[in-house]
């Protein structure tokens, strides 16, 4: 069986009914999709299948021969964040980070489908994605900012009031 994963062709040898999540994590070593519940209930394993956000824990790999899969590793790199990734970072939408992979991919699919900053629409798009840290507000802020074109590279980091130059922090985007 063959899959295109993050732009690369991959041969897959797992048994036909193996969930895509297991194939990605255990056979291909791609770990951003998380095994949060393995029952389709939490959204942490979300990947894009042909651009559509799907739960990898519920998809038997046999149904995906030839499919185009994107995981969070394929969206943007640490050096070049995608707009949604940048917005999540800038709006502190990732706390423990465990739900973040699924959240970012679902938000990406929402924006690719013409999503707007309308908060009820964002809530609808992220329904079924569980986060226990943030209370969702910052996640919705992040998606709204990205949808409104406000996500940027490194423009949200501010020095304390009265200082002239931005603070240099190790690990911060240049």
């Amino acid at each position: 069986m063959r899959l295109t994963v993050n732009g690369g062709e991959r041969e897959v040898e797992s048994a036909p009914l193996t969930p895509l999540l297991h194939v990605l994590r255990e056979e291909l070593g791609i770990t951003s999709p998380k095994a949060g519940c393995q029952q389709g209930g939490c959204g942490a394993c979300t990947v894009l299948v042909g651009g559509v956000a799907q739960r990898a824990c519920l998809l038997p790999v046999a149904a995906l021969d030839g499919a185009d899969i994107t995981t969070l590793e394929g969206l943007g790199s640490p050096e070049a964040l995608s707009p949604v990734q940048a917005s999540f970072h800038e709006n502190y939408a990732a706390q423990c980070g465990f739900c973040t992979s699924g959240m970012v991919l679902a938000a990406h699919a929402y924006l690719e489908g013409g999503g707007t900053p309308d908060r009820p629409s964002i809530q609808h798009a992220l329904a079924g994605h569980v986060c226990r840290c943030t209370g969702y507000v910052k996640i919705i802020d992040a998606v709204a900012a990205a949808a409104g074109g406000e996500a940027s590279s490194n423009q949200r980091w501010l020095p304390r009031t009265g200082e002239e130059s931005p603070v240099e922090i190790p690990g911060a985007p240049a």
């Binding site: 951003s32 998380k34 939490c42 640490p78 502190y92 990732a94 423990c96 980070g97 739900c99």
Partner: protein
Amino acid sequence: MKAVGARLPRYDGVAHVTGRTTFVDDVRIPGTLWTKALRSPAHHADIKGLDVSKAAGMKGVRAVITWEDVPLLEYGHLSALGIPADEPLLAKDDVRYKGQPIALVAADDEETAQAAVEAIQLDLEEKPALFDVRKAFDSDAPKIHQWGNWYPHFEGEMDRRQIRKGSIGEAFEQADAIVQGVYRPAAIEHVPLETQVCQVVPEADGRLTIYSCTQALYFSMGVVAAHLQVPLNRLKFVGGTVGGGFGGKVDTATETMCSLLALKSGKPVKWRWTREEEFLCSSTRAPWHMEIADAVTKDGWILGRKMLTLHDSGAYGRFSPYGLTKHSFHHTGAYTIPHLEFDGYCVFTNRVPTTAMRGFGVTSVSFAVETHMSRIAKELGLDPFEIRLKNANRIGDTSPNGVVYTDPSTVPTILAVADELGHELPADYRTMSSELRTGELLPEHLVGQLGTPEAH
């Protein structure tokens, strides 16, 4: 001080949003075995037979452990503080909650491990179970713990956390009214998105590398070392990346058992709980039963409080005595009450053992106290903000356990809430501060409790 007032990136933000953060489940060690547990199907039972020989002989099974494999079977989570141990790492003679681990299997893959668990022969004789803390004191209640149905080892071998302050009898004699309430917040599961997980690698030099999702790394290290009866320098803990904890990853849930499996099999071992296990077997925030009776005056002063707390500890002690102690110190909340009679019990039930969760022991009593404050206001026909401001902790007031407040924040907090809600207050309330009590804010009943802030 560059960071104060600045808007800074999270140090782990880029790794999170690009999927590069390595959680415990993401650590890749070739040849790692998978673990599954045989857990008690009963809430309360005696173990009459346990035979793992068939499971141990199955193809692909590399290690099976039971209580016999644990060098030190009982080590309490608070043993380091001198609180005695009561819980076996793996059940030996009896099981006291549904989901309690009895035996573990490490095998080449998850399916084999599960099949081996199902091949273990377990013979249980079920016993009546206790779930209601209020019934634990009845003479015919099921006996569920070697210490009795409630924790008996507070200082001086007292069977309760007790606070006595002032003269409660006097307060109730002088009261214009007695306001009573019962408050019963339920158990809450933490539901971290990352279930309990750990990975243990036996190294060539005899040490164990333990990848742990613990919230309390050095604490867990002590617990594992004690059960294994090895010095701390045999254990290398790798932690710091927690996929949500909220208090639920303070208990050492997996590390010790995985270490034993790694030592027995000689191979790296991983144990990742299913979501079902997380709901069924992981510790929760405790359910609490709280009864409050306050002696109050008709103008809204609280002279005295009698309080009874039953803290549902679940089947074993773990951190509950500590949680109840915090609870007792906070049983007047953000308010000053001079005459107190508090009795709190850690009650054992056949629930999963309970543990820390955000504000361990205190959120429950805060819920009760704040609800009770509004109840007092309602019964007396007074404004709920004014009664709070009047009784609010101020500089020089003393807490139930005798701490003198030097920087209390009750007054400004309540004023800020009133502002946000647009709640009108009379001028003498609007201008209140946390300063030392004087004049009308120092009625006779509060004089005796005043302390000296400078001394603290």
